[in-house]
Symmetry: C2
Subunit: 446 residues, 2 copies
């Protein structure tokens, strides 16, 4: 057998740095010996890797003789909470938001602003976003953190260059390269908001899986959880195949095969299979909003007929509730404005709103039944607006899925995202932390 | 950095054996030097690997000084056509078939028999299949080939154990472990027929990609192509994004992201993304036949309503053509019996049959529009019965896709499988050859 090439050696070094960093992220603080045991390297090998991670400012030493350590006292290693951080931004139809998360996934700064972005040209929108980014960068730099990258979540089709918005119908953008409009540093990329929301769900599982199952009030992990409280997981159909074990009160996480539905103005989705985001040939996978649910139904802006978005998108729900969408946007602006209004009316017992939400849930259930038959996910996670409207939407989704997946061999778990509408923003920032975790050598070199 | 562990070394050896074997498979006959150049190993390293492959009977030497070789004459290496071979079997609703392919993917033996398997118990069906397997094994052994494994294609949901048929509605089987009913040797596994059909499509591309593009009559590759002639690829919508280059008369292959639709009595599909078959959480992905296309339509045996199978499955098409399915089965038995009858009537201009096929194509187009929005494949390949009925089904599929994927950013290529109904059987055998290519060390050890 031939010896590893320099390129292979470089890849091995990167891999070892990544393994050691992830070991500390998952189980730290850890001694060098504990890292060595977890990743199956010799202690001498780990010592060299850890030195490099310390020099790069990715890890810190908590000092020797830390109380609570078992066996020979060793200097405990932890993620540096004054080291690199990831920036996430979100361009919504009626809001902008920016946040920063540190290596442990903790949100360290967050700003948001209402913004009427619908059919506004990208230039001014991005200029305003740049101001928010500056605010966040100043704040985290004040805490000693260094932004390593920025990901911008956009509700639309993003080209494989991770820079061009091919089409964002609700913003009215088409074929726009956002690259030149974004700050020069740190390096920026653009992603689909549903895909980034799915990434946040995966990370939530990763962190929630760490603490031992203790019963009453398990920590939901290190990710901040703003917004809606988590709703219980539901096994569908009534079978018990996919239910969490009794006594386990934590979210079981979406698993390695799941569908994440992100509904705001439009409806998008992300498909994660075998732990990997499915992108498709052009990067456009996940357009659940244009799955036909009433094939001979209402014409859609996409050119099709009877697309899900025409029955479960915000505008459709408002109209079915007897509410003028333009007026509703004026009276209830900002992220979640109309959602909160619809939720309040439904809670008050408004029959028209309740029927509209039930119908939207039914349409969503039909589209999801097709998707589940095609993809066989373990879990369907409802995120975004659907999290806020869960109590009125979810039963109808469940009913359609229960009817259409009657075969007992087919079980799927339906859950509502614990992250509410915050998922895509958080996922954008976490994707930058993931990039550091994947290639710590890049930070070390820079 | 630590030295590679014995386990890593073992994996490296396996990988090098596999790389060398695949290099000869793709471009052979090749000299040792040519193999070394293709896989980026030293000549000394390759010599050791090749020796092992020769000893295992996977490669043969064609002898030195072979005419037509360029440069220093070296002994040319080729796949052994009297070495290991893969067995494939197919349990259809009304037929059984078995074939053997050698390492180059060439069919070396094939037997088939009409069989009324619908709602027949697995015992007698498998006993009859065992007889056919024996015939094929005797035939290939007579040619000096050694079967290394058997894969059985079944139209149904197969458990992750690759042995249990969870549900095959058209056979009437449910929760049946076929393992004990299959021959003791060679090692056998059970797979979903659409998944195996997709594998054959991928292999077809692999082989077709090898010869240079010469224009008029490019070889379709080493895989036998029984049945239907290939139909031209169609770019959808009218855009030119996905069309093959002018002058390229070969099939461009399905690409790394494609949907393979396998229609016989029922309708299944396989989803290949980034070159990998998507299996889903339970291994049940690809149930296109139960995607709702008329959500409030006909009840389906699955418990749902308006499933594609109710509008485009064989029984639905026969009924819509004014033909009694039971009588048609009696009068036109065997694989392709009813398909040939329907094709003949459509060709004669039977308006009822033509309308039925057009309606089936429309329903399929609706289901595929949803699947394309969700998965963003490069290609949709219509296989099985759809290949034989292409001229009457495809235009309706195209029309629906064209309408519903009107966004010019969304292009998908619709093709008809060159393998016709033979895909799953061929894919079953090829999957065994793939297993040898992936882990030649197992054959070398055994």
């Amino acid at each position: 057998m031939s010896a590893p090439s320099p390129r292979t050696q470089q890849a091995l070094r990167q891999r070892n740095l990544s393994l050691a960093l992830r070991a500390v992220a998952a189980g730290g603080p850890l001694s060098r010996a504990a890292v060595a045991a977890r990743i199956g390297m010799t202690r001498a090998g780990v010592a060299a890797v850890v030195d490099e991670l310390l020099r790069a400012g990715l890890l810190v030493e908590l000092g020797p003789g830390r109380p609570g350590t078992v066996g020979r006292p060793g200097s405990a290693l932890a993620l540096n909470d004054r080291g690199p951080c990831g920036l996430g931004a979100e361009i919504g139809v009626d809001h902008l938001a920016v946040c920063a998360v540190d290596l442990s996934g903790r949100v360290r700064a967050r700003v948001a602003a209402d913004a009427a972005n619908r059919h506004h040209p990208p230039g001014p929108v991005l200029a305003r976003l740049a101001g928010l980014i500056e605010e966040v960068v100043a704040e985290v730099r004040g805490e000693g953190l260094t932004p390593t990258g920025l990901t911008v979540a956009v509700p639309g089709l993003i080209a494989r260059d991770e820079s061009t918005v091919v089409r964002a119908p609700n913003l009215g953008w088409q074929g726009v390269d956002l690259g030149p409009l974004l700050p020069a540093a740190p390096p920026a990329r653009v992603g689909n908001e549903a895909n980034l929301g799915a990434l946040a769900e995966q990370r939530l599982e990763g962190t929630a899986a760490e603490p031992p199952v203790t019963g009453e009030d398990g920590e939901p992990g290190t990710v901040d959880q703003p917004g809606t409280a988590e709703q219980p997981a539901t096994a569908l159909p009534a079978g018990d195949g996919g239910s969490p074990a009794p006594g386990d009160r934590r979210s079981p996480g979406p698993g390695r095969n799941f569908l994440f539905v992100s509904a705001e103005i439009g409806i998008g989705a992300a498909v994660v299979m075998d732990g990997e985001l499915l992108r498709g040939a052009h990067g456009f996978a996940g357009e659940l909003g244009h799955v036909p649910v009433r094939p001979q139904g209402r014409p859609c802006a996409c050119g099709g007929r009877g697309c899900l978005e025409q029955y479960a998108g915000e505008e459709a729900v408002l109209r079915a509730s007897g509410i003028d969408p333009a007026r509703a946007r004026a009276e209830h602006p900002g992220p979640g404005g109309r959602i909160a209004m619809l939720a309040a009316r439904a809670a008050e017992g408004d029959a028209l709103v309740r029927t509209a939400l039930r119908e939207a849930g039914g349409a969503l259930g039909i589209a999801l039944a097709g998707a589940v038959n095609l993809l066989d996910p373990e879990t369907v996670v409802l995120g975004g607006a659907l999290a806020g409207l869960g109590p009125w939407v979810v039963p109808a989704v469940e009913r359609e899925l229960g009817r259409r997946l009657a075969d007992p061999a087919r079980t799927v778990r339906l859950t509502v995202s614990a992250l509410g509408a915050e998922g895509p923003l958080l996922g954008a920032a976490l994707s930058e932390v993931d990039a550091v975790m994947e290639a710590p050598g890049a930070v070390a070199a820079g």
